[in-house]
Amino acid sequence: MSPVDEYLAAQADLRVVERFARTDVSGRTGQWSELIPLSAPPAGEQYRFEVDLDACSGCKACVTACHSLNGLDEGESFRAVGVVVAPAEPAARPVTLQLSATAVAAPAQQTVTTACHHCADPGCLTGCPAEAYVKDPVTGIVKHLDDACIGCQYCTLTCPYDVPVYNSRLGIVRKCDMCSDRLAEGEAPACIQGCPTQAISITTVSTSPIADEVAGSTASDARLVPGAAPSHLTNPTTLYRGRSLSVEGSVAVDTDDVVPQHAHLPLVVMLVVSQWSVGVLLSTALFGNGWTDGERSVGLGAGAALGASAALASFTHLGQPLKAWRAVLGWRHSWLSREVIVLSAYIGVALAAVALSVTGLGGPALVTSVAALAAAVGAAAVACSAMVYVATGRTWWAATQTSIRFGGTVALAGLAWLASGANWLGVGAAVVLLAVVAAKLKVERSVFASDDVDLCRTAALLSGSLAPDARFRRQLCTTAGGVIVAGAFVGAVSESAEPLAVAVVALGSLILAGAELIERRLFFQACAPSTMPGAHR
């Protein structure tokens, strides 16, 4: 055995572990008893995180403690630390009294530790279609039921604070539960165990006037800390205390650091295709009485097929597709549940209309009525889709924007379908289509006129890293409009050119659908609302 082999053997010898192993390291858990409540909150109160920002030194040990003590995946933690920057002029930072009764100015920069705010009106819970969230009736802790989660990630949009995070290994989201099992045993949550300066504690708060106490007022602009999402959305319970909160004009350090958000491609496809479906079906229902049976069947069939494809696309969005059936459970509160239910109903009625139309059973009148019903249910489904996004409270997804976008797609699809009719109605439809395209583009660009902080970030994205996509969409719109109008006109004036005209309009429709897909991707990617302050270091 050469010396190196001996050394390799010595290196591999781990007996030292046995020599120094300990099996009693008690003494850790008692250290934090003053930072947690001794008993469950009394009726009318709930637990909350309380953060003393003056004590927070920005070391971020809370983030790693949460990761390590909860056995989370690599890189996963239910806590994060951000930074708020005060205006530079010292005059803007009022001198206040610290504990030492010495005058100390508010800091130029403040770190902010954040986890789930265990809101009074949790957006995650309201949005969840699968009933995978509960708010504990005693502690008020908002818990995620991992086994019930279908991985739709809608809660990542309805939580204003980016708290639930999708775990692709498990196909579900996970989030902070305030270490409720630990609290139940009188142990401190992981982040409290990790904080060297005792900046985090658990206290109780009255559940009724949370908005008043937590945010200082119920004003629509009240926020937990500068740069956070407005508190009125979900009534977060976390209490932040500290000198820096009195500083006017502070901003999150990453206010101007805009990066494109998740594109949610299956949702992009689902939305555009379902709306296209409804548009085709609507135009068939409205005008199909004048068409041949075959033409009407094609219209109804196309609508139903597109609807079914949309449903399939939404399916691929789920992390737990086998649990997809749970998506209807939350219909009492979740617009996503309602969307799923109404969209399914729409597909069912549309398929029935197709069946009746193809088989001729029940006569043309029944086809007309069922087609009309399908169109109505389809319109309701689109309305539900819009509400899915409006309900998040995000400014960029406000009702006007979202309904014009979604409704606009329906209108474009219907008009494009009519434009393929090789008649003067088609020409008229094509012209109206041009107007709708123009109106839609105008509405989309209205964001550049806003001074809202969230919309400014959206505008920065659309004129920055997403600008090439936005430009390409406009070019596609122009091209599609021209092609469709040309096709419709040719079809109307020349009977012999009809097949060509239909093909041209179909091509234009495809281009237009492509433009709409890009629009919808930008709808997601450019939505960068205030959440909690991020950090640059």
Binding site: V25, T29, C59, T197
Partner: protein
């Protein structure tokens, strides 16, 4: 697509909630994740900074699986910063060096056997020494490896291989404090214990962002029950300064004037402890005369700190019963760091604030074993805090180690910068780099990296084959990391703590200790290290070397004692009849210092101008420093932890005052060019009032930062002055 989703979902656990289930630990740890419930823990001192926190490494079936900070340990009392919690993550990285790697003719590093690597190493080193003289091979070591390994490297290179010059990255962090203490106290002896943070009523921090650089020491400040007055001297409004009672936001590099001005104010206010000064110090009168030249008006003008603030701070120090003074890299990494550190020491001496709880002139060092290197690197000082120039010391070391006394050099090694200059002038042709990342961290990086290219032979011994320095190496030796080896570290408060092996090293990687043993064997001087059988045997040798020195720790009864009592601070001599077993001990309670006359010396000098002044072309002062508590030095380890990386900057950034953002037409979160005479880098702009107008701050963790820094050095400590150079900033215009 749908099918693969369904298949994947079938494969996924049906009960994902189980993954987050917790179990009450049978070990008393409280609830732990059921999936990683430990059956035992082993205590080990953390391998990042000099605080020296103890970590309980969780074990299951002998495998390290998690970490919690050790409760009851006198340093960290159950707490750790993020790096400590993530101590195991760097061990699992895919870019670990798992076999020796030799650069082939094609320029690519290829794995070779240890035998071949050692043969190559010895042949090349001997060839360099034969061609260019024995001093042509040098080494650059580290403050990151256990004392036993440092001592072995120092003994092997100097006594075994005839290598003349070696230094460490510790030159970059605490050389200034070493020189300051040696001159003022007669020995490199930081006098404090962390309990002093809690016992002071006035705490003065100079050039120290404790909250970020040493979060657990900050914990001790925060738990001070006396509602202390906190005075922070720092050009930036750091996290630490933000919590200060008095933040003296001085002009960069004006600290010496500020401290002399404070000394004069204290004299004027009658704050001098005449009894202490008369009985225990020397040269006070000359010092008083010297600082008379620093009236408050002039000091206010020079430092930008107003007279009222200076006066209030002097009042606070005067009124303080137990005033402690602390400094870190803001002082050490200065062109006149030694005199600045001594100016702090002088404040403590003149006010008698030393030797009592809550007092002291206290240098906080950087790396986990910088203090071990200060005593045992065998570079600037001879092993055990001895002096190469002292024949008695050489004799004693030769006796203890049973080496031929004639092999012991009579002079100290060249300093790091001198070794780099030696490469430039061609006197150094071979370099052995151990556990440091010169190509990233050395000042004026572009200049430094050109030098590395001039070498005939560069060996890098590291955990990773991917460091910037390894990328330039001819030979890479794969080293085991913290957690994969045994030994001891000495922390900032002189506490010797035990580091325990809890993991198998990957592949053929060896602890530096075994690599040095292998090199000794291959060189033909293995016999010299027969007594150095294991790290623990070596520790006994080191104890013997320390006996009779101020740093005497001969009384420690092996690793068992270190493990059971929570580390031991030096001195802990074996001769003490009734050893002082207090968990927290400080020096100089008897007022006797280690100078020949037993008195502490007042040492002072005229302030010197910085090496590179700002001018019209480069109008901004560049400050560098630690960015985040989740980053460590050149990030070779911390970047391997996903949770640590998630908390730190993704790209390099510069912090700029809003006035300068406007003046130079920059925008927050947009790119800018930062240009010095030595290099130009592109960084993101962060607009913040934490820096003053005319100054910009860039963190030291990104590889490009040191392209800008100016190679100025303290004349006494040869420590690089990372904290000052002239730059300009320009917006980067990107077309959308």
């Amino acid at each position: 697509m749908i099918n693969t989703r369904v298949v994947r979902s079938l494969a996924k656990p049906w009960k994902p909630a189980r993954e987050l289930e917790r179990t009450p630990s049978a070990l008393g740890l409280g609830q732990v994740p059921t999936s990683i419930e430990p059956d035992a823990v082993v205590r080990s001192v953390c391998g990042f900074c000099s605080t020296g926190c103890s970590l309980d490494v969780h074990l299951r079936d002998g495998e390290a699986i998690n970490i919690t900070p050790s409760p009851g340990y006198p340093v960290n009392t159950g707490m750790a910063c993020p790096k400590g919690w993530e101590g195991l993550a760097p061990l699992d990285a895919p870019d670990r060096a798992t076999a020796p790697m030799l650069r082939g003719a094609d320029g690519v590093l290829k794995e070779v056997s240890w035998a071949e690597a050692l043969r190559y190493f010895v042949d090349q080193t001997k060839a360099v020494q034969a061609t260019h003289g024995p001093e042509a091979m040098a080494f650059l070591s580290t403050g990151q490896i256990p004392t036993e390994e440092m001592a072995m490297l120092g003994a092997l290179t100097k006594f075994g291989m005839g290598i003349t010059h070696g230094d460490g990255n510790t030159r970059q962090c605490m050389a200034t404090s070493v020189v300051a203490y040696k001159e003022s106290f007669g020995f490199d002896a930081p006098p404090y214990t962390y309990a002093d943070f809690e016992a002071s009523d006035v705490i003065v921090l100079v050039g120290s962002n404790l909250a970020i650089a040493h979060p657990i020491m900050w914990e001790r400040v925060a738990s001070n029950p006396n509602d202390p007055t906190l005075i922070v001297v720092d050009p930036r409004c750091t996290e630490t300064a933000a919590a200060a009672t008095h933040h003296l936001a001085l002009e960069p590099a004006s600290d010496l004037e500020l401290l002399y001005g404070l000394a004069k104010l204290l004299i004027d206010k009658g704050a001098v402890d005449r009894t202490f000064v008369d009985e225990h110090t020397s040269d006070y009168e000359a010092f008083a005369e010297h600082v008379a030249r620093f009236p408050v008006e002039a000091v206010a003008e020079r430092t930008g700190v107003n007279e009222e603030q200076l006066d209030a701070v002097a009042d606070a120090i005067t009124a303080g019963r137990n005033v402690s003074f602390w400094w870190t890299m803001g002082v050490n990494q200065s062109h006149q760091g030694v005199r600045t550190a001594q100016a702090i020491i002088n404040l403590a001496l003149m006010t008698g604030n030393i030797g009592r709880p809550g007092t002291g002139a206290n240098s906080i060092t950087g790396q986990c074993n910088a203090m071990g290197s200060r005593l045992f690197s065998n570079t600037t000082g001879l092993l055990g805090g001895h002096d190469f120039a002292n024949p008695d010391h050489r004799k004693r070391v030769a006796e203890v180690l049973a080496v031929d006394e004639s092999t012991i050099p009579h002079t100290a090694s060249w300093s790091y910068d001198r070794i780099m200059a030696g490469i430039d002038e061609g006197t150094i042709k071979g370099l052995w780099v151990i556990a440091t990342n010169t190509a990233h961290s050395w000042i004026d990086q572009n200049g430094g990296n050109e030098l590395l290219d001039k070498l005939d032979f560069l060996v890098v011994q590291d955990m990773y084959h991917s460091t910037e320095t390894a990328a330039a190496a001819d030979l890479v030796l794969p080293a085991a990391g913290w957690g994969e080896k045994d030994g001891t570290f000495i922390n900032s408060e002189r506490r010797i703590g035990h580091v325990t092996k809890v993991r198998q090293a990957p592949g053929q990687a060896l602890a530096d200790f075994w690599i040095f043993k292998s090199v000794a064997d291959a060189w033909g001087c293995g016999e010299m290290f027969a007594a150095w059988e294991t790290p623990e045997h070596t520790f006994a040798l080191l104890q013997e070397l320390s006996a009779g020195q101020p740093c005497d720790f001969a009384g420690i009864e092996g690793y068992e004692m270190l493990d059971s009592v929570g580390g031991v601070q030096w001195p802990y001599p074996s001769t003490t009849e009734q050893p002082d077993d207090s968990a927290e001990r400080r020096l100089f309670s008897d007022g006797r210092f280690f100078t020949p006359d037993g008195r502490a010396a007042f040492i002072f000098d005229s302030p010197q101008p910085v090496a590179e002044e700002i001018d019209e072309q480069f109008p901004l002062v560049l400050l560098t420093g630690r960015g985040s508590a989740a980053d460590w030095h050149t990030r070779t380890r911390t970047e391997k932890s996903k949770v640590l990386s998630s908390m730190t900057a993704k790209v390099n950034y510069v912090e700029v005052h809003p006035d300068d953002v406007a003046r130079y037409e920059l925008a927050s979160s947009r790119q800018a060019r930062l240009v010095s005479r030595r290099g130009a880098i592109t960084v993101d702009v962060i607009e913040t009032g934490t820096v003053q107008p005319g100054q910009v701050f860039v963190n030291m963790h990104f590889a490009d930062t040191n392209q800008l820094t100016f190679p100025a050095f303290d004349p006494y400590s040869r420590q690089p002055a990372y904290k000052y150079c002239a730059v300009r900033i320009e917006p980067v215009v990107t077309s959308p």
